[in-house]
Every structure is written in structure tokens, then in C-alpha cells.
């Protein structure tokens, strides 16, 4: 939202506050979980939608188990991003569950993806890896766990669409050098190690260019056993 629009919205809010019947002084602030987690939306977009041109990932509609695991990972140092760690450092498991559950229930339209920049050959390589993997190198297809439509799977496997290319690249880098970890066995770290840098660039470029599904897409459940031993996907 542009600054002008934001200012208009703030003015509208204040006007509403002025019209509201005899409430004690102060802004009209509702006591809701959405209001309590406004600290999150300054980066992750309003209601947890990612901004298409930014770095920050979309969190709206991701499985609650995945979001909860990430919040705990930031708190306990398995993921490193100082602003996130600072925010969640002194929050309880129960509250982190509630926050994760809140964003998981949001079913919001995605912004259209940015047009792909990569050459056609790289995009084809990316799509092949995502849909087929490479059995010879024990690389399962992304879709095996993250869903045929790549929208993630309950309870704790995230969707892959609507994420900025830079964010995807940074995650693979972090898995490879140990800056992003998950409950052992850390399946994504294993996969990131098996991928070559050119393959990572290819699949991140292809994923970031895909049109995400419209709102209201059905949720799918992960099918055990997963093709690779994973400490966090099913819980």
C-alpha cells in the first residue's frame, strides 16, 4: 500500500474512532489476535501476504505446524535472522502456536508473480527438478512432499509458491552452510547439499515465476512415508 493510501486508511480509522460512541480517550483498537501480531505484518505484508518484489516470505495460509516450527527455530537459534529472533525470544510455546494458527487460517489471494528472468533452458531444468527430481542422485521431486500444486501439505510442509526468488535462494544457501536448520533428520539440508548451485538457481527461478492458485484451494495432507527421512514435515 502506498504511503498516501496508508495515510488515508489511518485518517479513516481515526474518523471512525471519532464517530464511535462514548469510548474512553484513545485510538479505536480492537483486541484481536490480528491486532496483537501487527509486529509481523510490517515485513510479511498486510495479513501475512508476501510482497512480490521483496525478500520476505508469505506466511498467510501456510500450514500451522510449519509456521510454528519456524517460530521455535528462530527462538532457539536453528534459523538466524536477528529481527525475528528478537521478536519471538520471550514468547511461550502456547502463544507461538496461536500466532502460527492465526496466519495458517488466512486464505488470501496471491499477488501475481514477477515475470521470469531466467533463460528458457534454465526454467525447463528448474521445472524438471521440481516435478521429477533426480532419482539417480536421490533427489525426490519437490512435488512429492510439497504437493502436486506446490501449495504445501498439512501439518507442517510449506507451500513453495508466492515466495520471492531471492528468499528461495537464500534458504538453499542457509541450508547448505548450516545457518538454517530443522529438527533432525534435517531433510531440506540434505537435499540442498545434493543440489548443484546451477540447479538451485534454476528451480528458484522457476518456482518464483509460477502463478499461485486462487484463494480457496483445498488443503492437502502429507502422505507418510515421505520419500526422504524428515524430522519436521509431519509434526
Amino acid at each position: 500500500m502506498s504511503r498516501r493510501a496508508e495515510r488515508l486508511a489511518a485518517a479513516a480509522l481515526l474518523a471512525l474512532a471519532a464517530l464511535a460512541p462514548a469510548r474512553a480517550a484513545g485510538p479505536a483498537v480492537e483486541d484481536s489476535i490480528a491486532q496483537r501480531v501487527q509486529a509481523c505484518t510490517v515485513c510479511h505484508g498486510r495479513e501475512g501476504r508476501a510482497t512480490p518484489d521483496g525478500y520476505f516470505p508469505r506466511i498467510a495460509g501456510k500450514p500451522a505446524g510449519y509456521l510454528y516450527n519456524q517460530l521455535v527455530n528462530f527462538r532457539d537459534g536453528r534459523r538466524r535472522y536477528a529481527p525475528m529472533t528478537y521478536l519471538v525470544e520471550h514468547l511461550s510455546d502456547a502463544y507461538l502456536h496461536e500466532i502460527a494458527g492465526h496466519f495458517a487460517t488466512l486464505d488470501l489471494p496471491y499477488a501475481p508473480p514477477l515475470p521470469a528472468q531466467a533463460p528458457a533452458a534454465a526454467l525447463a531444468q528448474g521445472e524438471r527438478l521440481v516435478r521429477e527430481g533426480d532419482a539417480a542422485r536421490e533427489l525426490p521431486a519437490c512435488t512429492r512432499c510439497h504437493g502436486e500444486r506446490m501449495t504445501g501439505a498439512e501439518p507442517a510442509i510449506p507451500g513453495l509458491l508466492g515466495l520471492p526468488r531471492d528468499y528461495l535462494l537464500a534458504q538453499f544457501g542457509a541450508w547448505r552452510n548450516g545457518q538454517r536448520r530443522a529438527a533432525a533428520p534435517d531433510c531440506m539440508a540434505t537435499i540442498a547439499q545434493r543440489l548443484r548451485p546451477d540447479e538451485i538457481t534454476a528451480l528458484a527461478g522457476w518456482l518464483a515465476a509460477q502463478q499461485p492458485p486462487a484463494a480457496g484451494a483445498p488443503k492437502v495432507r502429507a502422505q507418510a512415508p515421505l520419500p526422504i527421512d524428515c524430522g519436521s514435515g509431519l509434526r
Binding site: 504511503r3 496508508e6 495515510r7 489511518a10 480509522l13 481515526l14 474512553a24 480517550a25 484513545g26 485510538p27 483498537v29 483486541d31 489476535i33 491486532q35 496483537r36 501480531v37 501487527q38 509486529a39 509481523c40 505484518t41 510490517v42 515485513c43 527462538r75 532457539d76 537459534g77 536453528r78 529481527p83 529472533t85 528478537y86 521478536l87 519471538v88 525470544e89 520471550h90 514468547l91 511461550s92 502456547a94 502463544y95 496461536e98
Partner: protein, 425 residues
């Protein structure tokens, strides 16, 4: 000078050096009983009541805060404490025989807490707050020892400190201790209530409040003068406000219940905790009994009020105030109110807020820059969060907003500049 005079001067110098060294050594051995380093810990387990009391006291001392790495095993050490002299790594307190306190006797543990000396005779760095812990009594030290012995042993080797020369040197540390450390004993003050004395024991001892809420000299020792008079926390850059000054964080005119609410829940009608104090509430004080929190309140309320320093700063420039007002309307007013009045019970007021008007701009800058949640506690299990505006505002804009909220509705506080923000964020 004749050879004889040279010799006399030499002998004199040596004598002075020897006398000084002897004095330093003697000062380092004050109130220290000889320790049988081979004494083994007791073979039998401690009774459950002692262990539980020790667990509670370890909470009161927030031992876990330093002796647990992020995401690591509790009390197994490894967290680095940054100091102006280098990084000190807290050691493993679990009863592992090779890497923890497995071979420590209760006497050895007492000597570490009371005298700041390790089992092997080495002097401990005062990042371990033994200048406060020295006031803990033997019975409580033994209970904490019993609790630590009850933990599951974790094999995690200690990481050596990364201190710069000469701060990594035992002789230098001995000199520091001769200058700045004396073992202490807590003596109840006659004429004070039992609650006051209990509060004093907790605040000055295990609570080690002065580790943050006091100024430090250039060698890192807390300065005398006003007790708990506030100071900048080294390396972290948060200002720990004076607990003696009513215009900073003094609670002399607060109802006792509100002090208890702040320490026990992190939020109170006249203020809430933020920054490093969130950790103190989250890991330590929220776990303390009402009686102990009340005792701390009684003691803190009795601190002699420190006078407000006269504000000598010129009023802020009109341009900064105008820019700050516009930014405030865009980003802050929806929660904190158009006139900084806050939303009762949800968002704190900024008008008349002592934390906003602190002369040191550090905390207000950090609050805007990093946002944050109050700690989740039983009294406030679902805190409201403030966004980290570092993602949205430049240093200059943070400075303008800070200047605005410090001056728009009440007593003036010095203008905050972009340079202040750069240094304080």
C-alpha cells in the same frame, strides 16, 4: 649515582613491588577458607525439598540466562557474554564429570559464588556476577548446588573465553579484584522490616540488579555513588534506567502491587518492561513468589530518591518536529493515539511515559527500531507486539519520530539526531 645508591634504589623498588604483590594476593584471599580440591561431591542424592528450593533460587539468580546457549541444553553453558574486554563464555553447570561441575564439592561451589575463585584456584572473570552473588548465604548456595547436582549431566566442553590482553591475564584480574572486589556477607539491617531485608538480599544478591542498573568505570567495575543509579549496559547499548530516580525507573511513588505486577508479569499500569528486562522477567522474576516480589518492591520503594538532573538541552528544531509529527501520524497514532495517550490495557501511552523521556535516547531508538513483544507471562500470556520499524524508516526518520514523541505532549527531552540513532540502534 654510585653503585651503592643504584643497589639501594634497586632493592627499594623490588621491596615495593613485592609488598604490592603481597597486598594484591592478600586482598584476593579475603574471607576465603582453605579448600580441599580433592574433596568429592556427596555420593547420595539431596532431598527433594532442598533441590526444589535450589531450583527456585537459581531462578532468582537467572543462572539459566547465561549458562544456557540459545536452543542448547539447560545449564550446559556455551552462551557468549560480550563485554568491552572480549567475550566470556559461560561454563557448563551440569554434573558431568569431565565438562561440568561433576567433581565439584559444595565447598568449591561456595567459593566460586562467594569468592569468585574456581575449583582449580583460578580467578573467575566478574562477568560472572560474583560481586553480587558474594552476598548470597551459605545455605542458599548449598541449595543451588544441590539443584545443579540433580540435573542430567550434559557432556559439553567449555569454550575458552575470548578476552583481549591484558584482560585474559590472571595477574591483571588479581589487581582488578584487589581494587574493586571484596567478599561480602548479607547483614540484615536492624530497624527494617523482614520484608525489606528479604528484598535487599534478593536485589543486592542473587538478583544482581546492579549488574545492569549501575554505571561502570573504564575497567568495568560498578561505581559507587547512588545505588542502582542506572547506567548504559556495555555492548548491548540499552540504558538500564536508575531505580533510584523517580523520573527514570524509580518506584518510590508506585503502589506496591504495581511493582509486583511489573516484576511478576512484565506489565503494570505505569509502564512495562522492554529490552533486556524482558529476559529478566521471562526467565527469572515471573517465577518468584508473591512474597519475594513484594519484598523486592518494599526494598526498591525505599531507595533514597535521586534528584532529577536539570535539562540543559535546547528545544528541538521545528523542522524535525514537523517531520516527526507526520511520521507519527502515519505509523504510530493508530495504536498509541493521536496525542500519545495509548489504548488502555493494549498499547502504552507515550505522553508522560518515563521510558520515552529518558535523557539517554538509547531505549526509545531501540524500541522504534526493533519493535518487540512484552514477555509472555501468566499475567500477560498473549502480549501485543510492536513492529520493527527498521524495515520501514531511515535513521533520520527514526530520529524525527523519537524527537517528536519526546517533546510533543509534555516535558521536553533532548532532540534525537540521526547520529544518535546510528549509535544506539
Amino acid at each position: 649515582m654510585s653503585a651503592r645508591r643504584w643497589m639501594l634504589a634497586g632493592v627499594g623498588t623490588v621491596a615495593v613491588v613485592v609488598a604490592l604483590a603481597a597486598a594484591v594476593l592478600a586482598l584476593n584471599r579475603l574471607d576465603e577458607a582453605p579448600l580441599d580440591a580433592t574433596a568429592a561431591p556427596p555420593a547420595t542424592a539431596f532431598d527433594a525439598a532442598t533441590v526444589a528450593r535450589g531450583a527456585y533460587l537459581a531462578r532468582a539468580g537467572n543462572c539459566i540466562g547465561c549458562h544456557t546457549a540459545r536452543g542448547g541444553a539447560e545449564y550446559a553453558g556455551g552462551r557468549g557474554v560480550d563485554t568491552p574486554f572480549g567475550t566470556v563464555y559461560a561454563p557448563n553447570l551440569t554434573p558431568d564429570r569431565e565438562t561440568g561441575l561433576g567433581t565439584w564439592s559444595a565447598d568449591a561451589f561456595w567459593r566460586a559464588l562467594h569468592n569468585g575463585r574456581s575449583k582449580d584456584g583460578r580467578l573467575l572473570t566478574p562477568a560472572f556476577p560474583y560481586p553480587s552473588y558474594t552476598r548470597v548465604n551459605r545455605e542458599d548456595a548449598d541449595a543451588i548446588y544441590a539443584f545443579l547436582r540433580s540435573l542430567p549431566p550434559v557432556r559439553q566442553p567449555n569454550r575458552p573465553h575470548a578476552l583481549r590482553f591484558p584482560y585474559d591475564n590472571q595477574a591483571a584480574l588479581a589487581v582488578w579484584r584487589a581494587l574493586f572486589f571484596r567478599p561480602g556477607r548479607f547483614e540484615p539491617e536492624a530497624g527494617r522490616s523482614a520484608a525489606w531485608n528479604r528484598g535487599s538480599y534478593l536485589v543486592r544478591g542473587l538478583g544482581h540488579c546492579e549488574a545492569c542498573h549501575a554505571e561502570r568505570n573504564w575497567l568495568g567495575a560498578t561505581r559507587g555513588g547512588i545505588e542502582l543509579g542506572g547506567g548504559l549496559i556495555p555492548m548491548q547499548g540499552w540504558y538500564a534506567p536508575s531505580l533510584a530516580a523517580p523520573h527514570e525507573a524509580g518506584v518510590q511513588d508506585w503502589p506496591e502491587d504495581e511493582v509486583v505486577a511489573l516484576l511478576g508479569g512484565g506489565v503494570a499500569p505505569r509502564g512495562s518492561v522492554m529490552g533486556p528486562m524482558s529476559e529478566v522477567v521471562f526467565r527469572s522474576t515471573q517465577h518468584l513468589s508473591r512474597e519475594d516480589l513484594r519484598a523486592m518492591a518494599v526494598f526498591l520503594k525505599s531507595l533514597p530518591p535521586a534528584a532529577a538532573r536539570a535539562q540543559t538541552a535546547p528545544p528541538p528544531g521545528g523542522a524535525a518536529m514537523r517531520r516527526g509529527e507526520a511520521l507519527y501520524g502515519d505509523h504510530c497514532a493508530a495504536c498509541h493515539g493521536e496525542r500519545g495517550e495509548g489504548a488502555a490495557g493494549l498499547y502504552p501511552p507515550l505522553a508522560g511515559n518515563r521510558a520515552v523521556a529518558l535523557r539517554a535516547p538509547h531505549n526509545v531508538v531501540k524500541a522504534i527500531f526493533h519493535g518487540g513483544f512484552a514477555p509472555a507471562t501468566a499475567a500477560n500470556p498473549r502480549p501485543f507486539g510492536m513492529p520493527p520499524f527498521a524495515q520501514l524508516l531511515s535513521d533520520a526518520e527514526v530520529a524525527d519520530v523519537a524527537t517528536y514523541i519526546r517533546n510533543a505532549w509534555g516535558p521536553a527531552a533532548p532532540e534525537v539526531t540521526a547520529l544518535d540513532v546510528l549509535q544506539a540502534r
